[in-house]
Symmetry: D3
Subunit: 239 residues, 6 copies
């Protein structure tokens, strides 16, 4: 049995708090159980140099973890002088996932940067980040529409993500830390609200996995993401 | 009149939430009005190399600001590859202030690191950090006493801090951002709970200040800190 | 039709040259068409500090690209002062893929580092790197067995990789640069010699992809990897 | 009794040598006893990017210490790859102190950088730096007036600084190294020539200090700075 | 007797392979015995900022060594975060040597960067780099002439280099690694094709050397370089 | 005619001031005309890690230039985050030159670091540095002998250096800045006190140079160094 009597294919309680901080155009605290990530979307009226003059916009993301978001303290990346490989890998994944649901040509000369900062980590920080960032970005676009900078919202879909894994015989959805560190295979799946895939990243930590296992993992992920997209939609409907 | 009808010598509403995150030995969210800082105290059973074998302990601090804690987004220090001068200056100040109230010889071979991360900034982040860090450190020491690693708490006093400033003719206590950026003189005062001074840092941003003005600033700071220490004590009494 | 009259599910001509340089315990030049990567496996009789005293070994990898491996010159990472996010992501992938086929407990206190340096890049450098690194690592282990440092080779399988993608209506295997930059979806698949999966990383660059498309991509990848493993085996049989 | 029979409220012999090096628009070697700092003021006809087009000028400072300025050799900051927190803190203090006495609007599109490099350190390097930098800056402005780039000197006052401290029962002025490292409280005071305050930075190294002690420290500082301003004026009168 | 029965004043077998990679405007693999360096010349239609608007061009070089080019693995400079002193020294030497034979005014607003990357190192990597870079640069200029960007080739001469040294009683030409590490004096000589000198860098590793020894070293270097220039010319004649 | 009526083969007035600062075991201000370099030799009772346990000592050097040592201000290397290629090249040259005259086996487990910091630069800073460093190192060894840490001085010779160059038709000794920047060929020569060579580094800045020109340069260098060694000896004789 999983911690808190969760079923194998069940996501943790997910909570999305909008307007969590005061200044960002979109500010979301997303919680997947004990994993808590603050996602702040910032609008800038300029694009990176390499994109200038093309009539397009850009969406990017940065990821960080507070030093004591974890059981033992990690060294602060600002102090060690560089972002680690894991950090860079995650923020590239978040950024790609967000861009996949945005029509960049419909936001000319605008840039949105979503900062995902992990306040508390209990597994699944990258999938929680993508899930929260999607809502924060939606708020930022709504802000741009409201103030007249955009005629219509360039988001084509919500984007949500979940981790799935193989632990012994079980296919588990939304692994928390103790499960994640014991899993044989770990997979992160990013989908649109209608269930098409944006990213699939499966890694064999122990034994290689078979085609059948991959099918099972995807099925569980699809179900979990459907629940997560529900939560996103409800959060955005509330005022 | 000040924003929110505050009186010149009045601090903003101060809120101290203990056990804000789950893993740190002391975890405090401190709020001075809209300024919100998460202060996590981490215990390590080792000391820096230069202190080894002296039978002493150490207390240090790190400071950071989330990129969108402010009105416009700041570049992430982890990404720019180094902590700025302002950051280093503030974290040195926090660490000195904490050490000033700890008997380092009474915590042999133990180190406490307090991470102060600004979630939202509206002036006074360094004084809020010191105020919250004192409570987080107290909880960490209580944890060490409870588990038997220390016989008694090596803290000799609480430490609290407030900013004061001269704005036109007025001596103001606990400046928020719009006041701070307009002030002629800005002073940060750090005191023990019985009102003795640990740090006094006054800077003339515009006109130099006189001895009389310095006296007025200190009087206002003393009153503000007394209120802040009250709030610290109440927070620690709860539970 | 693809360049060089390749069929959609066909890999480019693959060439594996062993003993390419003189000093490395395993040295392989791997060519996937015009993509050429030098994979040098180095043996060290020590392990990273965090692994000391556990009776295990370690396998890691580094990745680099010569500045003019590409159509236009890229800035040298040694000169810019850090490895980019793409570089770190790739070398983490290579290292994980190699470790997935090695019994680390059967190589106590030994470390193998495989350097994958791209001499010429025409798409698929990460999958070529994994493919070549597997052979270089096999040679390094053979060297250790030959000199008596290991009783038996701790490799459990070869590991090979290929990229697949969706370009318009077509599912293509082993994309070269012009195909890769036009593809809607790009997927890298890493498998053992018996076709079990080690890594699956699919990314929608344009439109999200469906479950059926994912199935098609995996089928094409499986066929391509079977051919690549054949080439690896032949290379290792030759003396 | 203090070293060299100094009285408690007496500054060390202070020597200011102008035109110490040949190229800088202002070049001053300042000596406070054995503390020797070379202060070179450089004029540039451009301002930092963020100040462009505002019709203002800028004054900044940098601080460094030769590796063997101290009893034991310190690592060269250029070699360690960054300036330490103490260095950044000091150069920010010097720069603020200088700007406090300059009318930046009266030096449009001009920038002065004062480099303070410590040749020999025996306590009080930051206060000596400010004192010498003021004279070097005055010479640089005189140079600009002489060549017609400025109609009048934008300096509103000299600026001078001294350290004071509490050592046991005594309030000491201008501490040398052995005194500084034993002091309970250390305070740096920066004043204009008419005795108004620009910076007051007091730190309790041991016991917190009382309001009365702060008053005594300020009185001693005021007297010391009056002597230092005398020396500055004499140096500038000589040709 | 030297390894491979080489005579004291004899260079190793030298091989120059043009068009070694596909994209660079000049791409040369140069081999001095077991020392193998890939020299890629890249053309850019812009010059460094400090040279803009002067109607001149620029030639520069970068140098690197693959981590396992040597008997034991060296740390990757991209990973350690900076190029070492030896690397910077060598690439400055290569760049100066190339510029010495180019009329920079005859290549307005064009820049050539030659990347010299050592695939395998057995002594003399800097002299092999200069020798190969000269041919790669010649090809790049020929490319510019062929496409009409330049009317005539701005190279005034080939440039070639060799190391010479004193080992015991012997004056040796083109030292390989085992000789180089045992030599008392090591000298690198860079010459034009007509035997005039561009760089002479002699270093006493053990005993200082006399004027007579210097004369002997130069004579041997001159003879070796004549042979090397022959090889360069033959390589460039072949198509 | 040269500035100050110097003859072509004449060195500038050379002045060597010992005990220039108070703490270094050897502290020398060396002046070659307007070029002024402070050379501080520091003794440490430990050697670099790679040399431990071999019963040998080590001599090394670091070089720096104050930002305003030159006609226009250079960026501070500590602030830009790394030492430039020129700096590293020079400090490697100084260190090799010093080691060439020391019996490292006669100074077991001792290290001397000579910091050469340029206070004012007018050409020839590297040769002045070597010349001054030799005297500072001699004083440091004398200090070690005096306090009994060494039985005898491990220096085998003084070491001195000079720059020579070709300017038009003239062979000039000890070039100052205006000469150096106009010279066709620039050569730095480092010799022992008996005139044997330690380093010869000749560079054609404009036209390549002939064998005859090299002979002339060496003859002029030899004469200049003889004068410089005289000055070194006189400085060391004085008390």
């Amino acid at each position: 049995m999983r911690p808190n009597d969760r079923k194998a294919d069940q996501v943790r309680p997910i909570k999305i708090t909008r307007n969590y901080t005061a200044y960002a155009e979109g500010s979301v605290l997303v919680e997947f159980g004990n994993t808590k990530v603050l996602c702040n979307a910032s609008v800038e009226e300029s694009v990176p140099r390499w994109l200038k003059g093309q009539g397009k916009g850009w969406v990017t993301a940065e990821y960080g973890m507070l030093p004591r978001a974890t059981h033992t303290r990690n060294r602060r990346e600002a102090s060690s002088g560089k972002q680690g490989g894991r950090t860079l890998e995650i923020q590239r994944l978040i950024a790609r996932s967000l861009r996949a649901v945005v029509d960049l040509e419909a936001m000319p000369d605008l840039m949105i940067t979503v900062d995902c900062d992990v306040i508390q980590a209990d597994g699944g920080t990258r999938t929680a980040s993508i899930t929260g960032a999607s809502v924060a970005m939606a708020d930022a676009f709504a802000h741009l529409v409201a103030k007249g900078a955009l005629k219509k919202n360039p988001m084509k879909s919500h984007v949500a993500a979940v981790s799935v894994g193989i632990l012994g015989e079980d296919i588990l959805c939304d692994l928390e830390y103790v499960e994640d560190s014991a899993a044989d295979t770990d997979m992160n799946v990013v989908m649109t609200e209608d269930g098409r895939m944006i990213e699939v990243q499966g890694t064999a930590e122990g034994e290689p996995f078979t085609h059948e296992e991959l099918m099972d993992l995807l099925a569980v992920a699809r179900k979990g993401i459907a629940d997560i997209v529900e939560t996103q939609k409800k959060a955005l409907e509330s005022n």
